[in-house]
């Protein structure tokens, strides 16, 4: 199997922009531990899928060799800017664009100066690949794709990397429970929006740590509905696809709130 590391990480910019706020600093610290694990795995490429990169026509893949700039989040611009410098594995990205017809998905490459890379990809790449030395392949979240289709896309991308003889790290960027606090809060006392959301998040994380894939397949749809999981938790299915539906456990490096929604940094044992 070409996959040498796998991570589920949050796309909120708050831990990146304000790690000195204790609740968000915990997430940032977890992210840093995951970053060290990423470096130790020595992948040739990171396969990244972010719930925040939305597509409605086709499946989109970044095919621009390098993207640099300064990103400002639509919501959290008060906390500062996010510089980015992303190197794309264009060989693999083009292979993905060409191959998805096999699974009934039409794909397009995106190779435009100034393309608005989403916050989630920038945050995840900044934490997990801080010097940008590992090329990435980034795939959009087509909002009409099901969990099953997303899983197929993850599987196909990992297979194509294998065909190119590449060691892969797979990263699913997105949140857990999706309810945010809708009033201004004292950010030092950020909390998960409800006890039910917190219970759901812990239940899902526990199932991931136990590698209960069958249980997760049953529970995730209800989790998605009841706890408003970020885009149906499709980023987990991306990972699951790349891992061919199999892993042996997981370590939660961090779990906590980002303005009420659930965020976790999880490293899979593969």
């Amino acid at each position: 199997m070409p996959v040498v590391a796998a991570f589920l990480v949050p796309g909120s910019p708050l831990p990146r922009l304000k790690p000195d706020n204790i609740p968000w600093g915990r997430i940032a610290a977890g992210y840093q531990r995951a970053g060290r694990a990423m470096a130790a795995a020595h992948p040739d490429v990171i396969l990244m899928y972010s719930t925040q990169w939305l597509a409605v026509l086709d499946e989109l893949w970044l095919t621009r060799p390098r993207l640099t700039g300064l990103h400002v989040d639509d919501n959290w611009y008060d906390y500062g800017d996010l510089p980015f410098d992303i190197h794309v594995d264009t060989e693999l990205a083009h292979a993905c664009v060409a191959a998805t017809r096999r699974i009934g998905v039409n794909s397009r490459g995106v190779n435009f100066d100034g393309f608005p890379v989403d916050t989630g990809c920038i945050v995840a790449n900044g934490f997990l690949n801080p010097d940008g030395s590992i090329p990435v392949v980034m795939a959009a979240n087509n909002v009409y794709h099901s969990a099953e289709t997303t899983e197929q896309l993850g599987r196909l991308a990992a297979q194509l990397a294998d065909e190119q003889g590449k060691r892969v790290a797979v990263v699913g960027v997105g949140g857990l429970s999706g309810s945010i606090l809708r009033e201004e809060i004292d950010i030092r006392s950020d909390r998960i929006a409800s006890h039910d959301d917190d219970r759901w998040n812990r239940q899902i994380l526990d199932a991931i740590e136990r590698a209960d894939v069958n249980g997760l397949r049953k529970e995730v749809p209800e989790f998605a509905k009841t706890a408003r999981a970020d885009f149906g938790f499709k980023h987990f299915h991306w990972i699951l696809g790349a891992l061919q539906g199999k892993f042996y456990g997981a370590r939660t490096h961090a779990y906590g709130p980002v303005y009420g929604s659930g965020a976790a940094v999880v490293e899979f044992t593969i």
Binding site: A55, F112, D118, R182
Partner: protein, 308 residues
């Protein structure tokens, strides 16, 4: 300073395809045309807007989505390149716009006073969303009138349509008070498509109009029903049907701009002028105008007389 007033409101949808079809110098992508009937509709709207000579254009866009409250652009000058994340092949637009910060701050304060969460966006590196830019280009390509840009809080989607549109009603009335207090002669722009069912694949030549038609007949019928009501000035009935329209036509007016604009104008029961209707990747787009000056609901006070 005389009391400000709203001169008109325009339903001004934002398909980037219309900018692409026009080939303005600001847009990098080049086309062979396309979507002419909608672009000609905007040509007519541009003329009537020009006659109004407003001090400011206020635009509410569904593509600046905010989770925590309603946000307003609060930087005097914003410039950069806006690339549409969905249609980067069509829209890569170099923008340079001027914000009426004083009015934006007044809108923000009035919204807060009305009980809404509202924030000023002060980051000079902020990239303005393509919905705001597209609507503004289509209605006023000269970019010579200051603007106020509003985000779309996700309440209608996060909670429900009723609560979300209620917030937009409150925001619209707050916006009107801010306009009156600051003495502006203002035009409201609701950047919304009507029926929003769309195709899932793009034609090889995006501007090939032989491929363009309503994505669903149900959506088209709803659009015609709503337009007919609005053309007759049956505003109350149109708003009574709005939740059903949203549900059954997947209408983008759910995001709130349409309600915000009408609330600011006081839901006038006057005939809207349809400048044109057309589809873009199957979605229904109407360019419409409610001219409060022509309807005699506000005096056409020239700028000098307003003391603005």
């Amino acid at each position: 300073m005389a009391q400000g007033q709203i001169l008109a409101g325009y339903l001004a949808p934002h398909p980037p395809h219309l900018v692409y079809g026009e080939n303005p110098p600001q847009n990098e992508a080049r086309s062979e045309g396309g979507w002419e009937q909608l672009r000609w509709a905007y040509e007519r709207a541009r003329k009537t807007l020009d006659e109004l000579k407003p001090d400011v254009l206020l635009v509410h866009s569904p593509h600046w989505i905010t989770q925590l409250g309603h946000h307003m652009l609060g930087v005097r000058n914003l410039r950069g390149k806006s690339v549409d994340p969905i249609f980067p092949n069509l829209f890569r637009y170099n923008f340079d716009l001027t914000v009426d910060v004083e009015l934006a701050e007044a809108c923000c304060q009035e919204a807060r006073d009305a009980g809404l969460v509202a924030k000023m966006m002060r980051n000079p590196n902020f990239r303005v969303d393509y919905g705001t830019i597209t609507t503004l280009h289509l209605i006023r390509p000269q970019w010579d009138i200051p603007i106020v840009g509003f985000s779309a809080n996700n309440t209608p989607y996060y909670l429900n349509t009723k609560e979300g549109l209620h917030e937009m009603d409150v925001l619209g009335k707050a916006t009107r008070r801010a306009i009156e207090r600051t003495g502006r002669r203002a035009v409201m722009l609701a950047s919304n498509t009507f029926s929003h069912w769309h195709f899932h694949e793009e034609p090889a030549i995006p501007e090939d109009m032989s491929q363009e038609h309503p994505a669903r007949y149900e959506g088209y019928k709803w659009d015609m029903r709503m337009i007919e009501l609005l053309r007759k000035g049956h505003t109350r009935e149109a708003f009574r049907l709005l939740p059903q329209f949203i549900d059954e036509a997947f209408a983008e007016v759910k995001s709130g701009a349409f309600t915000w604009m009408f609330a600011a104008m006081g839901y006038p029961e006057i005939p809207g002028e349809l400048h044109g209707y057309g589809t873009v990747i199957g979605t229904g787009n109407a360019v419409m105008e409610w001219n409060l000056v022509k309807a005699g609901l506000v005096a056409d006070a020239p700028r000098a007389a307003m003391g603005a």
